[in-house]
Amino acid sequence: MTGHTQADFSRDEAIEYIMHHYGEVMKRTIYTYVKNHHTTDDLFQEVLILIYRKWDQFNGQSQLKTWAMRIAINRCKDYLRSPLHRIKLVKDQWLDKKDPEQPEDTIIQNEQWQQVAKAILNLPVKYREVMILTFQQNMTQKEIADVTDTPLSTVKTRMQRARHMLREHVNEEGLTLE
């Protein structure tokens, strides 16, 4: 759908296209911000509604995926700023245990990579964001700057800092990161 504008698709066609092609990737991205499956479900619904409402504003200057992801990321950041999510942290702890009877460790296949992934998910949001969008979404630094409304130089600095923090963590854990 690269290069298309909102005039090429009806609102309903667009939302169906976005759900079909980017639903999974958007939900995974939302999760990396809020780290809670229930909240991810709710925020994803809010994002879909926002996209549906704002469809008239999509002018085709950016790719559809970038536009939709920007809405999702902005909503996640708004949510993280709101005090409500801190309350949910307290209440949702038990709900988010995906398998209440099986320890997470027993299903880990590749311990080392899992440790690194965990460390990334535990970075502060602004560093986590650049790492996730780079490694999980395969975005370039320019795309990250675009989707997060952040100057490219800031993205580069954050990436360097994130790598540095990650290396420190990895060294502490006695892991190798090549």
Partner: protein, 378 residues
């Protein structure tokens, strides 16, 4: 750093199964359809435009037909007398005590918004509604404060440590009992329980804010003061979960039930849960269900669509056909110690299932489940 390995590891950390499901699509379309069919959304903006236009036209007409509106009136004294409301009347209006509906709305408003009220704001609101604090307890999350509200401006003299009786409401001693839970670390109200006289005046209604994602929704039970009457083991199991005496259980207590374990392993044969559907309908917070050699009929399970996790133990289920309709919102199903001998197709009938614990020897075609995004564990 191997991008491929790291991407896989991050994806695994997020979820091994797909996150985007048909449920997301269904939720979205049900929302938009509601919006579309709503008169409020379709008709109201147009109506508002028409009314505004009429108002502007009427105003313009008045402006041009009433002479110079900026000129001082001929008899200012007379106008002052007519226009100014009588001070006594004004004061009377101010003193009108808030109605029960206003109280309920304002208390719900404390946690309905994106920025819930803090303790200071809560105190101000309660005082403005003629409320009186009657007890405070503390748990690991913070204070749990009970308030009673008077139906008139008089301050209450009676003190209550728990939800008052139906008679107290009927006598007009109070019209609302509220329990507000504060999250101490964040200094915010994060849940509320409200008890008040039902519309018919013959029973109590209890409302409680939800948990987790449904935090801002309130669930309601009418007849909250009614004692619960059901088979002994079921009653004792519910009472144990709520840390109450079985004989003291009320229908309103069922609203607080979040986990229920019924263990009938000491009995011969399968224990069939029997209860009036209204009791199961009142279990609006129930999320986790564990049945050991016990079975709940599908008609009762259907009354509790909030259940997310179910564990069956013993010879109670074979192919799930008898209960599948009542488990449509279940996300986690543990069959590892059950008599389940069905197929992957049987499990796929549970539309919300994301994790199932079942032996691969029982379901050799479990890859079908994985293909559909269900995490199979044993």
């Amino acid at each position: 750093m191997s991008n491929k390995n790291l991407k896989k590891a991050i994806d695994d950390q997020i979820s091994k199964g797909p996150l985007f499901t048909e449920e997301d699509r269904r939720r979205f379309y049900s929302h938009t359809q509601k919006k579309r069919s709503s008169w409020w959304n379709q008709g109201f903006p147009r109506l508002l435009t028409v009314m505004t236009t009429l108002l502007v036209l009427a105003g313009s007409f008045y402006f041009f037909t009433s002479g110079n509106p900026f000129q001082a009136p001929a008899s200012p004294d007379q106008e002052t007398v007519i226009d100014k409301p009588m001070p006594e009347e004004e004061e009377k209006e101010k003193e009108e005590p808030p109605t029960l509906e206003e109280k309920i709305e304002q208390i719900k408003g404390m946690i309905h918004t994106e920025e819930p009220a803090n303790k200071e704001q809560m105190t101000e609101i309660v005082q403005a509604l003629n409320g009186k604090q009657v007890s405070v307890t503390e748990d690991e999350q913070g204070e749990r404060i009970s308030f009673v509200f008077s139906p008139n401006e008089k301050m209450l003299e009676t003190s209550y440590t728990e939800a008052p009786s139906l008679e107290a409401f009927q006598n007009g001693d109070l019209d609302l009992f509220a329990v507000l839970q504060l999250a101490e670390e964040y200094d915010m109200v994060y849940s509320a329980e409200l008890t008040y006289l039902s519309e018919d005046g013959e029973s109590l209604t209890k409302e409680k804010s939800g948990s987790g994602a449904s935090q801002r929704q309130f669930e309601k039970v009418v007849g909250a003061e009614e004692p619960v009457s059901m088979k002994d083991l079921t009653l004792r199991s519910i009472a144990r979960s709520l840390d109450k005496e079985p004989e003291a259980l009320t229908k309103g207590d069922l609203l607080d039930l979040e986990e229920l374990t019924i263990n009938a392993s000491h009995l011969n044969g399968i224990y069939d849960v029997e209860a009036a559907p209204e009791y199961f309908k009142a279990m609006k917070s129930l999320k986790v269900l564990k049945l050991n050699q016990a079975m709940i009929p599908v008609e009762l399970l259907k009354e509790v669509p909030t259940i997310e996790q179910v564990k069956f133990i013993g010879p109670t289920v074979k192919d799930l056909s008898s209960v599948a309709d009542g488990l449509q919102n279940v996300q986690y199903l543990n069959l590892i110690n059950s008599s389940f001998d069905g197929t992957a197709e049987d499990l796929l009938k549970l539309k919300s299932l994301t994790i199932v614990r079942v032996s691969p020897s029982v379901v050799p075609d479990y890859e079908k489940l994985q293909f559909e995004g269900i995490d199979v564990r044993w």
